[in-house]
């Protein structure tokens, strides 16, 4: 798999795919997209990188074990859910929104953090599975 074409392409594809995954994550509130699909695209970026450059290089690039992203993502999603319970005495998962309109993001609310949590969990799960399989293969 380590052809020069793929190796060169992967250098450029990694940031582009990651950027695209964030775009998908952000547009997901009203249009098709969201944390799950975004997370899958981000993990595809890393999987492609590992095909071209080898698993060890990708691991170096990631710095942390992808499995660690699972509890982090879950905690983020959980906090997004319980914030209204703790601070505003609203039911679990009630959407809280920042009143001002922000550039790029649009409106900022707890739903975004929930989706970000999903994104991280999906990246963590997918990469853990794929790395484990390719290590044992």
């Amino acid at each position: 798999m380590k052809t020069i074409i793929l190796r060169t392409a992967s250098t450029y594809l990694l940031p582009v795919l990651l950027l695209f995954s964030i775009f998908i994550l952000l547009r997901g509130h009203y249009s098709p997209g969201g944390g799950f699909v975004g997370g899958l695209i981000a993990s595809i970026a890393f999987v492609l990188h590992s095909f071209a450059r080898g698993l060890d290089n990708t691991k170096d690039l990631l710095k942390i074990h992808p499995g660690f992203l699972m509890p982090v993502g879950l905690a983020l999603a959980f906090l997004a859910g319980v914030t209204p319970v703790i601070f505003f005495d609203q039911p679990y998962m009630t959407g809280l929104w920042y009143p001002e309109h922000l550039p790029v993001l649009g409106s900022l609310g707890t739903a975004l953090f929930f989706d970000l949590g999903v994104y991280l969990v999906v990246v963590g799960v997918t990469l853990t599975i794929i790395f484990t399989i390719s290590e044992s293969a």
């Binding site: 499995g67 509890p71 319980v82 039911p91 679990y92 998962m93 009630t94």
Partner: protein, 510 residues
């Protein structure tokens, strides 16, 4: 504070599992977090129960979306009781598993998954939305798949394949049933469904949907023709896992049956008769199965099936007395079955085997422990005044009142068989002379364990035995709870009103 109280048990379990995931490699931390968290959970569940007891049914609308469109969580007395029982058995199993499950298994995330399982159980008991119920069922079975395969022994994998196949099948049927129901009514909220299903004119279609639900939950609850996965899989995982499975997983199926057939599909004599026939055959086949087994845990697995029959029978009789009996039996059974599987785990740790033929001499070696074991064993049989006795009275009275003698006969027959089985277990495990067993190398025998580990194994048994004794001797209180639950279930308008509010119900009638 109390407004969101319904969700606290859920949120606490979710918080615990996330916290435990952060301590993935630190097993000694996980043990402490799990036990302390479970103690807090018992406190929260008692709080929820007492609040519901005083103030009646409470609801929380997730995301503040109004029913029937949003997902709601409803805590009536039945849900609050079951959440409390889950917390009690959860605490016991958490302590027991920190001592009895070997470190090689704990390393692969035993405790986080265990708390995800409890999260799923609490969610299933509290939700008021039928599709959300399906989602909680998925959380439960996915966690249970991990727990049942953790360790990867050959026998374990064989058991889990059977468990996996039939439970996935049940989920598929459940999902199909929900789809049909949604096609019929256009709603997923259980209270709303209760009103809409009652108004459907094509009763044949409603009956078919009801049968689909019956089959799906029947597989989960392990009733007569659909129980074969249970005795084949429950004896394979570590006994701590079997304890939570035996105590609670099949009971979720029973809970779902009770909920669906007292709220949505009510008053259909055809379905009631089918449930009764299933119950009677479950009582017979479970009892006879238990009689011929040699593995201690297989005996208990068949007894689970047998005793599911009592609860289903109460549901089939469908009078207030019968439902009260069912609820009482449910309360008693969760505690006793959890305890029994822990007992089998303890015996396994002491002797290194669970084969009844090879066991023996427990009383000679551990007289006090044997007396402790006697409490769950004889509570299960229902020797008065222990806990298994009282619900059977209600069930038999209800059987007499509705003049279904064959149901009464089956209930008495199953009690007799349980007595024989337990007497056999008692005689051969505790009284029979000790056999010399080959010493197993690399096996952590009970006497080799540290004192704290021993205490962690014995303490939950004492705790659950005390709860069992309370259920037996304080039967008046439990009977009060069960009658109140039965009253709420029979008169389901209260539930519907709590969920939808008065105006929407009037809209429906117009």
């Amino acid at each position: 504070m109390t407004q969101q109280l319904v969700l606290y048990p859920l949120l606490l379990q979710m918080f615990l599992s996330i916290l435990l995931m952060f301590c993935w490699r630190k097993i000694s931390w996980q043990r402490v977090i799990s036990i302390v968290g479970s103690i807090i959970n018992v406190g929260v569940s008692i709080w929820l129960f007492s609040y519901i007891w005083e103030n009646g049914t409470q609801i929380v609308m997730a995301g503040n979306w109004k029913p029937p469109f949003g997902i709601i969580f409803v805590a009536d007395t039945l849900s609050a009781t079951l959440v409390l029982l889950t917390a009690i058995s959860g605490l016991a199993v958490s302590s027991f598993s920190s001592a009895s499950v070997v470190a090689a298994r704990l390393k692969f995330g035993y405790f986080p998954i265990f708390h995800f399982l409890l999260l799923g159980l609490n969610g299933a008991f509290l939700t008021g939305d039928i599709f959300n119920l399906y989602v909680w069922f998925e959380i439960i079975i996915i966690s249970s798949f991990v727990l049942i395969t953790l360790g990867g022994e050959k026998a374990q994998l064989e058991g889990s394949v059977k468990y996996f196949t039939l439970n996935i099948l049940a989920s598929m049927i459940f999902l199909t049933a929900i789809a049909v129901l949604y096609g019929l009514t256009g709603s997923l909220n259980m209270a709303d469904l209760a009103l809409k299903v009652a108004a459907i004119e094509n009763r044949g279609l409603v009956e078919i949907t009801a049968i689909l639900f019956l089959v799906a939950f029947g597989i989960k609850a392990a009733v007569f023709p659909l129980y074969f996965w249970l005795p084949d899989s429950y004896h394979t995982p570590p006994s701590a896992v079997a304890a939570i499975f035996g105590g609670l997983l099949t009971k979720v199926g029973v809970y779902a049956l009770i909920r669906v057939f007292t709220l949505i599909f009510v008053g259909d004599h055809f379905i009631e008769n089918i449930i009764l026939i299933m119950a009677v055959l479950t009582l017979f086949s479970g009892g006879l199965g238990a009689l011929v087994q040699n593995n201690l845990r297989k005996v208990f697995s068949y007894l689970i099936i047998c005793h599911i029959g009592y609860m289903i029978a109460g549901l089939g009789l469908f009078t207030e007395v019968a439902i009260a009996g069912t609820i009482f039996y449910l309360i008693h059974d969760i505690i006793v079955k959890t305890n029994l599987f822990m007992v089998s785990g303890l015996i396994f740790r002491i002797r290194g085997t669970n084969s009844i033929r090879n066991l023996g001499g427990l009383y000679a070696d551990f007289p006090k422990l044997s007396l402790l074991i006697a409490i769950p064993l004889f509570s299960l049989v229902g020797i008065p005044p222990l806990s298994g006795f009282w619900p059977k009275i209600s069930l038999i009275i209800a059987g007499f009142e509705s003049e279904r003698w064959w149901v009464v006969a089956a209930i008495i027959f199953a009690s007799l068989i349980t007595l024989i089985v337990i007497a056999k277990v008692w005689a051969s495990v505790v009284w029979k002379e000790k056999k010399e067993l080959p010493v197993r190398l690399n096996f952590r025998y009970f006497d080799k364990l540290k004192t704290i580990r021993k205490a962690q194994m014995i303490a939950p048994m004492i705790f659950l035995s005390l709860v069992s004794l309370y259920i037996g001797f304080g039967a008046e209180h439990i009977q009060q709870v069960s009658s109140r639950v039965a009253g709420e279930l029979i008169d389901n308008e209260q539930y519907i009103e709590a969920v939808l509010g008065k105006e929407q119900i009037i809209d429906h009638e117009e």
